[in-house]
């Protein structure tokens, strides 16, 4: 290096110091090593995540928490409880009764998959499981409606009870649709929003119809 020929370093001055790279106060291993924690912590963490999502559905605000950390526990619990509550309908003839458990299950999951595929094919940017997660969690108002309907039906089957059920189911249907639209609409291309929202509307309408037409034996 010709340019450095005239640079001289005095040999009396020691060169010393510390070479440290600042690291975070915890190593990455400690974050994800959950093997040693008590089981209660593990379960509570997941339960809290599920609970937080339920609250997001109840008060739909534009939040990315529901979308980012998707899980399918909530939809599974909701779907199973809804299908269970829809049992015990007219079972005197095998035909023409209400939907069977498997039918409800298939309608909800297959419907959610089809809607997700539809939105992705139309150019949506949401991922497959995120969309399933949102659609599943937004079934919650309808599950609440089913619960209310069963309670009302315990009191009696008549015009008044039907009107109460109609109002409750209608309101919950609107809530479900609005909640899921609030979460999903942003990820769609702007001139196709209606094309994506309509199948969601149809999906919740079918579920509401199943709830409304539930008649105990």
């Amino acid at each position: 290096f010709p340019g450095l020929a005239d640079v001289s370093i005095s040999q009396d001055i020691p060169v010393e110091g510390e070479i440290t790279v600042p690291v975070g106060s915890h190593s990455p291993d400690e974050d994800y090593s959950t093997l040693d924690e008590p089981v209660k912590d593990t379960i509570m963490r997941d339960l809290k995540a599920v609970g937080k999502k339920f609250i997001h559905v109840m008060y739909p605000r534009k939040s990315s928490a529901l979308l980012r950390d998707w899980d399918l526990w909530g939809p599974l619990v909701l779907c199973v409880s809804l299908a269970l509550m829809l049992q015990g309908g007219s079972a005197d003839s095998k035909d023409d009764g209400g939907p069977q458990f498997a039918e409800v299950f298939v309608i909800i999951w297959f419907g959610a998959v089809v809607i997700t595929l539809n939105s992705k094919l139309l150019g949506g940017t949401i991922s497959f499981f995120q969309s399933l997660c949102v659609l599943g969690y937004c079934v919650m108002p309808l599950t609440v409606a089913m619960l209310v309907c069963r309670l009302v039906l315990l009191a009696g089957v008549g015009t008044v009870s039907f009107i109460i059920r109609l109002i409750v189911v209608g309101a919950m249907f609107g809530w479900s649709t609005l909640a899921s639209t609030a979460f999903l609409a942003d990820s769609q291309p702007p001139n196709r929003k209606a094309l994506v929202v309509y199948p969601i509307f149809l999906f919740y309408f079918v579920i509401s119809w199943m709830i409304l037409t539930f008649t105990p034996q």
Binding site: P99, R192, L195
Partner: protein
Amino acid sequence: IACLVMYLFAEFDDAANLLAANPDATTISIDEPVEIPKNQHSRLPEPGREEDDELLGTDDSDKTELLAGQKKSAPFWTFEYYQTFFDVDTYQVLDRIKGSVFPVPGKNFVRLYIRSNPDLYGPFWICATLVFTIAVSGNLSNFFIHLGKPTYHYVPEFRKVSIAATTIYAYAWLVPLALWGFLMWRNSKVMNIVSYSFLEIVCVYGYSLFIYIPTAILWIIPQNVVRWVLVVFSLCLSGSVLVMTFWPAVRDDNRRIAVATVATILLLHALLAVGCLAYFFDAPELDVPAPVIPAHNGTTVITKSH
């Protein structure tokens, strides 16, 4: 450029007039519609040109035409390939639905609205809506008809949903398949001017089913006269869409085969409507006290009381 535009329009006008005047003339038309430059608005609107204007559609569909050559180039095992079948905007779907409900005499649905951009969104979701509309309306109609009878116990009749789904989706996919195969076979024998791809036929059939959705809702009215008037009306509308689409494709063939094809198309369409009416909607009963029959609606033999 204005001269070029005028020249192209003159050509198109002549061709349209020739076709209108002499429908039996053998004309060769390229499957891709004529590409007109975007500056349609610069020309003076003349009364004779309005027909062309309607036929050519809007500016955006011109853009679609120009890009038509670039579509469907992805291999069929990728997701992008299937995305090309959903390349429609909201207004395009609404336009296509409008075109199926208000058929313009003389205009071909495929040429006017689909224009080399067949989509699967319309057929799939119109069929899904129709399935649930028929099931729900049938259930409601039966409920109102049998209301008040002491022996009547309401059942949701959920089985009928799966039957409706099978029927309608089979109709919307198998009949176009058969028709497409038939047209391909005839094309190999007779040099035909107009040929449709399988997806375009599926598209036409899917959109032509749209009129049955409001019809099914109106079938709740428990009057036989009303129901049959609705059947005839909706059959006329959607049948005319189908006829105007497929007549140009078969008219160069043997006259009897052409008529038979179109008649079969209409017959199947009518069969679908009548079959749905008969199976899902109980006959409205006259004011005679009905015998005590448990309302197992799915297995009741429906007899028409007219």
